[in-house]
């Protein structure tokens, strides 16, 4: 009986973790531009410089 409640709390917490991850990614601007990141990762970087300095 109480096992169900513990499971429930854990499951809601896990789902809550995903919610926070989603909100964080939105806040970080990951959904603002769906073109650049997808193509950026395909470029071979000949240079050692890090070109992915994000805002």
């Amino acid at each position: 009986m109480s096992a169900i409640i513990i499971m429930l709390i854990i499951s809601v917490m896990i789902a809550g973790g995903f919610l926070i991850a989603f909100l964080w990614s939105v806040k970080d601007g990951q959904f603002d531009d769906d073109f650049s990141p997808a193509h950026r990762m395909l470029f071979d970087s000949k240079s050692k410089e890090d070109t992915k300095t994000n805002i």
Binding site: L8, A15, D32, S36, S47
Partner: protein, 804 residues
Amino acid sequence: MKEGQILNLDTECYHCGDGFSGRPIRFDDKNFCCDGCKSVYSILNKSDLCEYYDINAQPGITQKKYRKDKFAFLDLIEVQQKLIKYSDTNQVHLTFYLPQMHCSSCLWLLENIQKLNSGIISSTVNFNKKEVFIIFHPDVTSLRKVVETLADIGYEPHISLDDLDRKQTLRPNRTRLYKIGVAGFCFSNVMMLSVPEYVLGAGELEPEIALVFNILKVSLAIPILFYSASEFFVSAWKGLKHKFLNIDAPIALALIVTFGRSLYELLSGTGEGYLDSMSGIVFFMLIGRWLQDRTQQAVSFDRDFKSFFPIAVNVLKDGTSTPTTVDKIREGDLIQIHSQEIIPVDGMLSKGEAMIDYSFVSGESVPVSVAKGEIVYAGGKQTGGKIELLVVKEVSQSYLTNLWNKEVDASENDNTIIDTISTYFTYIVFIIGALAGAYWYMNGETRLMWNALTTILIVACPCALLLSSNFTNGNILRILSLNKFYLRSPKIIEKMSNISHVVFDKTGTLTQRRRSKVTYEGQILNKEIQNKITAILSQYSHPLTDAILEYLECTPDFEVTDFKLIEGKGVEAWVDEHHFKIGSPEFLGLKNDTIKGSKVVVGIDGEIKGIFHISNVYRFGIFDLIQKMKDTFKLSVISGDNDAEWQVLKEYFDKDDLLFYQKPDDKLKYIEHLQNNSSANVMMIGDGLNDAGALRQSNVGIAITDSDNTFTPASDGIIDAQRIANLDKFLAFAKDGRKIIGVSFFVSILYNIVGLYFAVQGILSPLIAAILMPSSSISIILITYGMSEWMAKYRGLTKIKSKV
């Protein structure tokens, strides 16, 4: 962008992919169409950035050289302050809008720009908004140098007067995504907590567990109602304040009733409530709205004249020229305008030869020559050399600004068909509710009465109606934008489906900008004479002579003596002991016959040899389009230009529907006349500022653009010139959209009837609601998406490659 095509590097420029107009320029074993393209290549080559050409073939943009001190105004502190977002001693942050950005090569190059300018610390591209965010070191480089670096490689940032007035661009609206995230989380958990009740039936759970479940359900439903669904309440309240029942009003009511009733059931222990259905509906509706409102971020529909104006011009004072921002220019200042610059103020010509291209303001396709002492109006573009103007009116009072301010403020009628239907829908639901309630009251069943009343409101929520319009419009907008036809808002689709009359502008809309066709009539000119004419006409630049030069394709090797240019008429010169006179018919002593067109007459030693006719080139497929549209729509042409093209156009249009010499004001009045007298729904298609008034007055105003980086006046939609021939399909597709909404609405009514069947009897259980509501939502989504895709295929609008 050109994938799948066989590259022909013998006939196309390695950098930009344009054909060659003359002999290509060879460099590093590659062909280039112009010096600009070659110099971009050599810059990239030097810095080992040629990977640019490997990612996409011919990714460049035809490059024009810019004047040496064109960006001098960026050294002004007040300009810098407006553009820079953040700065300290080590770094400066700012964002540029680069309309030229179009493919992954651009992305790569712009993010590797620090190789070209070591002062740039980092650059990050936002492709959707065509923006680049740059951080640079103020000690190593300067704002001006950064802009010059960008301009050198063909990405000149667009910096206009608009940027000075406005704050930096707003961040994209992320609120809806937050709301969707929260709604999705709460919905899925409420659903999970409800499953035991569905399986076991109400009251079968152990009381302690049921209590925990119920507390959790309510606490999960609260953020949905008060946070995720808040926009429905706000919008409903706004509508009610204006005594207008929009579609959000019944939805807001249904949400409140559902929540209230569920709360009552859970507290009194009489049932398990409908919180699961409520959460699901909010989640689906938010997704629908998000899909519908995902408009093109890079396309701006609200540009006013300020976006077209330069940010600064050179003011001459005591012989030295200093760059000054346009809003600081005062009456009596002396300003310098260079070739190809737009004039931001009304001024009197005091020095230089002015050839002003007013095509943007008036639609006139041929530049006007202005004599010294005459007024040059703002918005014109200088096509001759450098000129000096004495400012007569400041930018805020210029003719163009007045023209803009005079325009109608089209009072938008927001009442869409969905709102109308939902109003009726709401009344019908109220009537059903009242009848059912009254029936049970008469029978003395008060508990059933409340049951019936509330469940009717719950189940008959017009959410399905909202979903069907949101998903259909969202998908139509998406398909149209793949076809390079961008609409300002989903409402325009509905307006497009009602169009009965289509009005075209001529210059730049039916015809191509800056391209003309030359035909020759008269005595045959031998190679030698052609060569001599070329020698004379090469002496100066004018659109008509440029067109003839291109037509003759000669390299001159004759010496021209006694060259005399008579502005606005023609030229006289001696070549090889012969006297040449080339110019307008009047200049050669001919009577200009009925139709005034663009003609250049050639006379040698007093004898007329022949006439060059220079006419507009029509856009590809435009006449097919007109033939196809003729039966369904009334069509007109309204042009600010002369009637030279009357002969051609009368074949396709009714004579009464061809109007020439129309001022911007006349265009607006014509549209108004059509709307009032023949109560037509007018679509106006135009390109310039001269059409701006008409575009706003019309029911749907569409601006046409030649490439992604030209600027269009404020409009309801923007169409790529290459795709104008598909206009009939777009209009038909908009009509299909209405049918799709109709069909899905019909389906949602069926679901509603089933739901109401249970509800009026007072026996709508949460389980039935939980099955009915999500399944109606999902089937609506499938129907709208499937049908709009199918219709797009049927209309031939899907076989379009994406832009990359």
